[in-house]
Amino acid sequence: MYVLIRRLGAGSGQNRSYKDEELAVDQLSIGRGTDQELLLPGDRVAYQHAEISLSAGQFRVRALASTGITVNGRSCKMAVLNTGDQILIGDYRLIVIAAPDGVDLALSLEVLEQQEAFSIDPAKFVTRLDLLSRWRPRRWAWALFLLLLAAALVLPALVTLKPELQGVLRDTPLPDDSLWLSGPLHSVHSTIGKDCQACHTTPFEKVSNDTCIACHEETALHVPADHPDTGMFDGERCASCHHEHNGEQRMVFEDQRFCADCHAVLDQRMGSEPQVGRATDFHADHPPFRLSMLEWQDDSREWLQSPRLTVDKTLRDNSNLKFDHAEHLDVEGIKNNDGDWEVLSCDSCHEMALDGINMAPVKMEQHCSRCHGLAFDPADPTRVVPHGKPDQVLASLREYYSSRFIQDRADAGDIRALRPGQRDNLSQLQREGVAWVESKSQAVAQDMFERRACVSCHEVDKVSEQPPEWFVKPVRLNENWFVSGEFPHVRHTQTECADCHAASQSMEAADVLMPDIAVCQECHVGQQQKQGLLSGCISCHSYHQFEIDHAGLPKVTP
């Protein structure tokens, strides 16, 4: 369609100037966008404000913008146009005028005067539009900054820097250095309370060992005080291994790397020859067990504990006992004093000591005497000698046979009276009796010590012929196989004794029944492994191992 646009200029009525422009368009688009057929540049006009189209012989104007259009004073979305109709778009007025020949539609266009279109000041109804204009974020940001700096830094620091303010800050709700607490103290240290200075004595300095030792002065050392390489430990801190402020979690971390960083390179770290092999992981990198043995000294008649010895077939236990575990553990049983067959198990003799670590000592009276009676006279099987020193045994025999001699003579009516005037106080009868009792007692004692009773379990030396004298070597079971390790039996009650100790195959007490490291490794793996019973060094070893009170144990020879 052909559209004539008549742009009205200055003047009025017939004299008004104008400029015509013809457009050939499918439909007349009107707006401020540069792609519009009729460009109305006013800012109240939308980019695509309206369009005029021809359909069924009628011209229709349609509003495209939300602000709409006004046709003949009425706001509308759509209107049919007839000659003389007025369209207001923003500050522009279009009037449909009579179309000349060759033109389908003619529109006059004029710009309305500004004050006519815009007479009310928007400021009249607009209240504050600046968001939060009264707030001033920067001002309260700096206030917050200073407040937090004072509460979180300055006041807590004053607790240390100005001791006279300590009480004021700590006893009032004012912020104090408890805000700096990285975590709660372990309950063993709860008596320290809020007194951070108990350990943190000097600002910006690490907690020193002296503050720990001030209370923990009994703490044992890692190596003996006279060790040539004590210098290795210079600069080491208690806090390297003991981490506080983790609440109830262990203050000692079980991490094996605490130990491995030295024990991987002991030969380089130490000036002297290391006494222990390289160890960094119980499963992957740990030397075989070495055992400290009890050694009986015949000369001095005392026990010594040997240094750790390599375990092989030649290593024999030295308990001065004769014992056949295999026979005692026979599944058929073993004959007791009464002639009955009794089936024994490990715990028939071995009971756990109260400390839960070792086994309690085996006692003759408690564990052996039910089978191993100390009767000596077939005529009187209920009479026994005490399980004691040879002197006591002999004395007991002499008492028994003295009474036997007197009894025998009385029964025989052989009571001779002392003749008057007889000077010898020791009668013939007495001399006879003394000789008989002594020879009988010695014969029985020799039988017991050397052939029958004592020697079946004990090592017995005859140290003198006349008068006969025996020495029974004392029996002692090793309780200190592992010099620097500890095996708590109480924590292994879920396993059978035989899982670790091959007692049922042992026919001699000298057999070493301690398990190989591989037996432990069946369950215990090192911390390098992903699964299993992850066991660090301190599962068995203790760092603070020297000067521990080994009451009653023999001295450890170096």
Binding site: S66, I120, F145, L147, P156, W180, S182, F204, K206
Partner: protein, 296 residues
Amino acid sequence: MHGSFLSHRGGFWFWFALTLVLASVVAYVWHEPIGLPNGGSWLGYTLGTIAALLIVWLTLFGVRKRAYYSRLGSVKGWLSAHVYLGGSLLVLGTLHSGFQFGMNIHTLAWLLMVLVIVSGFYGAWVYWRYPNRITRNRDGMTRDLIFREIADIDRKASLIVEGLGSPADRMVISAIQLFQVGGGAWQQLGGRDRSQMMIGVLKEKQKSWKRVSNSRQQRLLDELTGLLSRSTEPKEAALLQELIDLVSRKARLLKQLLNDIRLQGLMEIWLYCHIPLTLALLATLTAHIVSVFFYW
């Protein structure tokens, strides 16, 4: 030249930050500290140092964006790095903590850091999405233009009611006079309209005028529609119809305007949290760093 700060330089800072995050996560998983993971292991100190330097650098964005003559990279590049490196800080700072939290300033510093980052994420989101929504809502108009359109409608309406008389004139004029836009933060962000108008009420057979809410011109439209339905005179009905047309247009414009204020407000409000929280974080971070070495 137009492009989002998010995809600046082909998302260079996104990949940089992602690499930083992945590297620190891998290091954290691989690292087996003696004892519990904490800020005092070598990795803890490393992550903490990087995180602290990042925080200081991120804060300097506020300085850089005001330094108009600075030639130290474009502000858009800085913003892109600010957003992505700020996001990576969430991971770095948390890994530095070793997930040890408590009632202390160390955790407070972490919490403030998280709040700053979360408010920053919100800011990045609105800067990314809202300009588009604001443009679409404005539909080619400016806020000023909308005011002028509304003023134009008000002028036309006040001319029309001269031919109608009471009660329409009283209602329309009062609706114009008691019309207000803006208000406090909640009104602006909630898109609430507290405009009012007067309506006539019969009280003990005495007619009086009462103020009622005219939120979004709805009440005025209801009243005018009521008058139109009771109108018997065609001329009066035509005027009322025209008034209703005008007021509906005003209501549409108002809706657009309130939306514009709300969207613009949401684009600004987060900075009111982001900036103060940042300064609070700086203070707490200082206290955190000083205190851990004060009580070493």
